[in-house]
Amino acid sequence: MSETATYQSTLLALVERDPRVLVMTAENRAAIRELPAKIGPRFIDVGICEQTMVGMAAGLALRGRVPVVHALATFLTLRAYEFIRTDVGIPGLPVKFVGAVPGFLSDGNGPTHQAIDDISVMRTIPGMQIVCPADDRELCACLPEVIASPAPTYLRYNATSSKLEHTPYQLGRAEVLSEGTDLAVLTAGFLTSRVVDACAILRGHELDATVLNLRTLAPIDEDAICAAALACRVLVTVEDHLLVGGLYQIVTELLVRRRISVPVVPLGLPGRWFRPGRLGEVLEHEGFSAARLAERFQRAFETTNVNSYGAR
């Protein structure tokens, strides 16, 4: 992958390599602006018709195509939900759903645009993969595997840049970004680099954290999570999603099923939409800037470490 690869150039290369791949959009072209001129009839813009796009994608997939469909995450996963579940989920067709501006990335749009329940609804569909790249490079790295996979897949689009240094991508496998034994922070997607920055701050306070970038939430890397739970005193989950149905519940369901007892502190959106605004201010206000996360990790460690019993 060249240094200058973008989502668009990566997708274009995949379209050129694989005649099955089609690009569809419900008039959401921000990430794929140059493709119409480059791929002609294999670019299908249906207008602002998310349901029709998903139904058509199912029909195209019936004919052996792999449609990569684009819309804002909230309209794709909610307005077209029943089409995704019924027309793609039931037959298990290889349609790839790319949801733009998920989580905090909807910044100033307000609650209508806040996809903070998308993971919750998509993970109820049997066989649906959920892929949450941490930055632009991981977005490009995941794309060949997403498209090669025969499973329907929801891709939580994130093209923000970061200073993270990634290990080679493997769909369904978590990436260990740092290792420590005081606490383990589990996250995925846009917040990953904030978590890494927060843990760098913690090291100044002599707290060593394991950071797991889960990369995909379905399938989830169960062994990586369990290993972190057994190695650390406290688990913290960090997500730009409601606490209902997201990472926190995925992790706690797993720990209960594996009979692993460990304190888990959830950092996410506790039953409300976030305050809209400029992204940096949103993160600060909601407690997800690196500095705020560092404070919250430290508090999580201190309170659960003192009060918990039976964890080890």
Partner: protein, 284 residues
């Protein structure tokens, strides 16, 4: 009706008999099945390039049942055309087989599942579009109910079908005049339906959906207009073929006793009208 269609009429009567036999021991949506029987028989016999021997042929024509309730008529048509043996119909509603109240792809010949209204126009458009992209000869036919036209997704898809110039797409409306329990024009009026579909960019033809001569006229030349999807509004009668049940609002879904099945089969073959004692099922 001319004798040209005598064989089709006999075939349609056999398909109706299959559907009536499914309306017991759990029942089925007989009303919608009998209203679209003649459409299905005509399409499979005279129009669709498909057969049990070419179910995987990418150049075949595709038929989608969007409302889904009419699947007993499709099962009956499949039996008559050799897609599967008649004996299999005895498995209707048995968990060991895949013959239930809505179509699904486990049954040979069924192109896609349905049951949730307003889905298969867009799915069929995906097939039509791929046929265009690949330069293939496949056409996509989709049968929708008139009550189904309440769903906004049908009209959204209709906009796109026209915008994408899918002239290998044929929308067939089984215009039997009923929603589930209520006449369409009483609840959510659709007329003038032909004008509506025309305004959405379809080449529209309205015919009597029980007259094979008129169905022949509707499907004789496709596309009806270059660059436009076709809409065939087939005016039909709920429970067509059973005068005692025709056009009755409360005989949409029926679950009959074995004796009532026999009476209706006799009625279908010209005996007097049957009098049913089973409870009408109004809400389902």
């Amino acid at each position: 009706m001319s004798s040209d269609f005598a064989e089709l009429e006999a075939q349609a009567r056999r398909v109706r008999a299959h559907a009536i036999r499914l309306a017991t021991n759990g029942g089925c949506f007989l009303g919608a099945s009998l209203s679209c029987t003649d459409i299905l028989v005509y399409l499979y016999d005279r129009v669709l390039q498909v057969s049990p021997q070419r179910l995987d042929d990418p150049q075949r024509d595709y038929l989608f049942l969007s409302k889904g309730h009419d699947v007993p008529a499709l099962y009956g048509t499949f039996v008559e055309r050799g897609f599967f043996p008649a004996a299999r119909l005895r498995n209707h509603l048995a968990v060991i087989d895949d013959l239930y109240w809505h179509p699904n792809r486990a049954v040979p010949g069924v192109e896609f599942h349905s049951g949730s209204l307003g889905h298969l126009l867009s799915v069929s458009m995906g097939v039509a579009m791929d046929a265009k992209l690949t330069g293939g000869s496949s056409r996509a036919f989709v049968i929708v109910g008139d009550g189904e036209l309440n769903e906004g997704s049908v009209w959204e898809a209709a906009l796109v079908a026209s915008a994408k110039k899918l002239d290998n797409l044929v929308l067939v409306v089984d215009r039997n005049g009923f929603q589930a329990n209520v006449a369409t024009e009483t609840l959510i009026p659709l007329e003038p339906l032909g004008e509506k579909l025309g305004a959405f960019g379809f080449a529209v033809v309205e015919v009597n959906g029980h007259d094979f001569g008129e169905l022949q006229r509707a499907f004789a030349e496709l596309p009806r207009r270059e660059g436009r999807p076709t809409a065939v509004i087939a005016r039909t009668t709920r429970n067509k073929g059973l005068p005692s049940l025709e056009g009755k609002a409360d005989r949409w879904f029926v679950d009959l006793s074995p004796r009532e099945v026999e009476l209706l089969l006799e009625e279908l073959h010209g005996a007097g009208q049957a009098r049913l004692t089973s409870e009408p099922l109004v809400v389902r």
